[in-house]
């Protein structure tokens, strides 16, 4: 299976509502790809399907060759993910949370302790390591979400609007963290913030109403439509 993430004819119905319509695309190793689209386009559904949180109505998704539906544990072991706006157990501290998740990912002892310190430092939460999450702001929880996604140093990051709900400074900081953390990784992330996408990725998949409208380099789209914004508006059927 060539490609870190391979999606073949993936569809998802919620009762009779078609949220994702026969989506096919391939993300190569160490590529950064953004999934762009308006609210309700099917971005989050795609990412949830890739993480095995939803069952596809039809089609298949592969993570590094592992079929997500049939080998879910093997597939997600290669992924670090932030989905929707994650919440943490309020009674745990970041240190305890990461210890729990790390152990579930086969990390132990000194290696785990060292890595927890490293990721907490990376996301700027080292001073909060032993404070219960119930006292955390939205931004701090988002940083912790990023820390847990990076904890096991996965080859693939799947991120659903990682800067959602953050103030401008928080958004900028998350982007900086991602720039540093994504080195040597495949990043597949959903967003509707064009500036964020342009800063992080070279390639975008634009979806609307569950259908793939374009999958191309940002440079090509800019050349064809004069700007990424125009490409996005044109392809998501909004008249300028």
């Amino acid at each position: 299976m060539d490609g870190s993430i391979v999606i073949e004819g993936l569809s998802k119905y919620y009762n009779s509502f078609l949220a994702l319509d026969n989506l096919s695309l391939k993300v190569r190793r160490n590529e950064d790809v953004a999934l762009l689209g308006p609210n309700g386009a099917g971005k989050t559904t795609t990412l949830k399907l890739l993480c095995g949180l939803l069952r596809p109505s039809s089609g298949t998704a592969y993570i590094n060759g592992a079929n997500v539906a049939e080998e879910r544990e093997r597939a997600v072991s290669m992924v670090g993910a932030i989905l929707e706006t994650p919440e943490f157990y309020p009674f745990f501290t970041p240190d305890e949370t990461l210890n729990y998740l790390g152990r579930l990912r086969k990390m132990h002892g000194r290696e785990l302790r060292h890595r927890i310190k490293e990721v907490l430092k990376l996301v700027g939460l080292e001073r909060w390591a032993n404070v219960r999450v119930e006292k955390f702001s939205r931004g701090m929880k988002q940083r912790l979400a990023l820390a847990q996604a990076l904890l096991h140093d996965p080859p693939i990051l799947i991120l659903d609007e990682p800067s959602l709900g953050l103030d401008p400074r928080g958004m900028m900081e998350v982007r900086e963290i991602l720039k540093e953390a994504r080195k040597g990784k495949t990043v597949f992330f959903a967003s509707h913030l064009l500036t964020e996408v342009a800063q992080i990725c070279k390639k975008v998949a634009i979806i609307d109403h569950g259908k793939l409208r374009a999958y191309d380099n940002i440079a090509h789209l800019k050349k064809k439509y004069r700007s990424l914004e125009r490409a996005y508006l044109k392809l998501t059927e909004v008249t300028i």
Partner: protein, 267 residues
């Protein structure tokens, strides 16, 4: 890493979660108050004399180890939100994308809830044992059987709570549904069957009453004057059969909760 190691990890952290919650300590406090109140009223009102029965350790044990309500409430409070909250409070977005099977997650949560409930029941029985030794210098042999049935009753209620928790969207709904099922629906069925002359031996609430029926004193005699006296069928759950009935409910409903949770999507 084997699935068993993951189960140990899930259990350990779920248990830590239970011990960090105020409701655990609230349940402990209520249990202590309930047991001490029962002992105080039994002795203070001289219940054996009022009942016209001899004051034996067996009769005392029947009163102070009637812990079915504690087992039910403990299990419901710890288990009602075990699965539903992962979906309702979105913590599942952090937990479920890990390489761990849902069956392991559910089993770990179940074991943790059981340990928390068992701790509360153990405290209640310890106080009762202390009181028995203090007042009568002797322990009735049936107390261990009573404790075993109380633990199995807790397992049965946990399984019911886990089933509702896996089916329903909200933790509160699962908690209320479990309470209503055990404290309203089951008793209506059991009592109706008893009045009709059928033995409700297969009902969990009836089987749960066997916690007080391990001392060789028939419940009918101990609680003379209760509605059971007028029944054609005697309210006298047999301990071994009751234990097996509770075990059957616990196993089947626990498996059902796993089956539902495995199929549940994070929408």
């Amino acid at each position: 890493m084997s699935e068993f190691e993951k189960l140990k990890t899930v259990t350990r952290y779920e248990l830590l979660k239970q011990f960090r919650r105020r409701r655990f300590y609230g349940a402990l406090a209520i249990t202590v108050i309930a047991v001490i109140l029962t002992i105080g009223l039994y002795k203070g009102l001289d219940l054996p004399r009022q009942m016209g029965a001899p004051d034996t350790p067996e009769l005392f044990a029947i009163f102070v180890t009637s812990m079915s309500t504690i087992a039910i409430l403990g299990a419901v409070f710890f288990a009602g939100d075990a699965i539903a909250s992962e979906f309702e409070r979105k913590t599942g977005y952090i937990l479920f994308p890990n390489p761990v099977r849902r069956i392991t997650l559910v089993a770990g949560k179940y074991i943790a809830c059981f340990i928390a409930t068992a701790a509360i029941l153990a405290l209640a029985y310890l106080i009762s044992t202390g009181a028995l030794l203090g007042f009568y210098r002797r322990l009735p042999g049936g107390i261990l059987g009573s404790f075993a049935i109380a633990l199995m009753l807790a397992c049965c209620v946990l399984s019911i709570a886990f089933t509702f928790s896996s089916l329903l969207k909200g933790s509160m709904g699962a908690t209320i549904a479990t309470l209503l099922t055990f404290m309203l629906i089951f008793p209506i069925i059991s009592t109706s069957l008893s009045y009709a002359g059928y033995a409700p031996w297969f009902m969990p609430d009836y089987a749960g009453d066997a916690v007080a029926n391990t001392y060789g004193v028939p419940l009918q005699q101990a609680f003379g004057g209760m509605p059971g006296q007028r029944l054609r069928f005697k309210w006298n759950p047999e301990p071994t059969l009751s234990f097996l009935v509770l075990l059957t409910y616990a196993v089947i409903l626990f498996q059902l909760s796993i089956w539902v949770t495995k199929r549940r999507e994070m929408i």
